[in-house]
Symmetry: C2
Amino acid sequence: MKTISRKEEIIRVASRLFYEKGYKTVSMRDIATAMNIKAASLYNHINGKQEILSEIILKLAEEFTVGMEKVVSENISAIEKVEKVIEMHVDITVNYSEALAALNNDWMHLEEEDLKAFVKMREDYEENFRKIIKQGIDAGEIKAYHPEVILFSILSTLRTLYLWYQKRGKIDVNILKKDMVSVLIKGIK
Amino acid sequence: MKTISRKEEIIRVASRLFYEKGYKTVSMRDIATAMNIKAASLYNHINGKQEILSEIILKLAEEFTVGMEKVVSENISAIEKVEKVIEMHVDITVNYSEALAALNNDWMHLEEEDLKAFVKMREDYEENFRKIIKQGIDAGEIKAYHPEVILFSILSTLRTLYLWYQKRGKIDVNILKKDMVSVLIKGIK
DNA sequence: TAACAAAACTAACGCTTGTTAGTTTAACTT
DNA sequence: AAGTTAAACTAACAAGCGTTAGTTTTGTTA
């Protein structure tokens, strides 16, 4: 039986607050109050505010990186790869919709080491996506728009999905996947 | 000859800093330092930090509202209306790319009155856009996906455009408009 | 040049921030 | 029941925050 540790609980509560108000606006006292303890008690479980942020963001970034690498290595067409990427985004969004806010809005508040690691992962991710699209265009599966514009359009939608997923009553995952694939793929095929 | 007032200069400098680090992270001393003056001097021109934020956001929101109402009132097809909306977004993005960061990321830090006004404008805007899409579906001009999914997909892309416009060397406005219309419209038509 | 207004300055305020040190309580293990 | 450890507590710190009051500098007009 897996019980969640106090540290994990702090991170979960912090994610929710960061989602609502942003990293800089949420104080350690805010997080503590939400857990019915005092701010100083948090330090029995974590090293500081900064650590909470990097745990949230880097763990998620890892998830995206691993997912993307898996898709890239599969022996399927470019369009199918794009579909898989979309489905991965939907899966992660559904499971971590609150943590995604920090990744999207507060990554610039990471410190030196972590910031560099995050930016690297992000760039690699985009580069992998870009390659898939180019490969699809070369194979004649995807319309020959500027790859950059296609990449931007799809990624923008996927990255903002967590906002809409929260706002409108958490639709069924499979329906959501189907809708996203439809709207995002049909336009470029 | 129109010279910009000191107040306008403060707002311009603040916009740039908010774009880079976010409203909460930027202090009045940061803004002052960027202008080579002391923080207290800012108060000769503005009433407070909060006023800077609301001037930035509400002025932009007004711009969107007016633009949308103009499009809605035109006697053209739904698809043409969507095109006009996309072009309006591109125009505003090009002219106010830094101020757009505050509107997108820091609107929740507005206070009571201003916050209510902003949310109202935003909702009205989305509702107008939604109506255009539904009208297009009814007229058979737009594919019969869920209107909400189409709305979300297009708006996400447009709202994030300011990030990409800054990152990749400020492309020519007309080319950008053409690309955006292509990618966003062809998928739903 | 004297007068005036605009816009800078210094100094300080009350408050909140993240974090630490040291102590007490609560919950298991033996 | 005694001992041990995890996790809470109180109290305080140094630094940074937005803002105010009062003063000095700067630049323009009479």
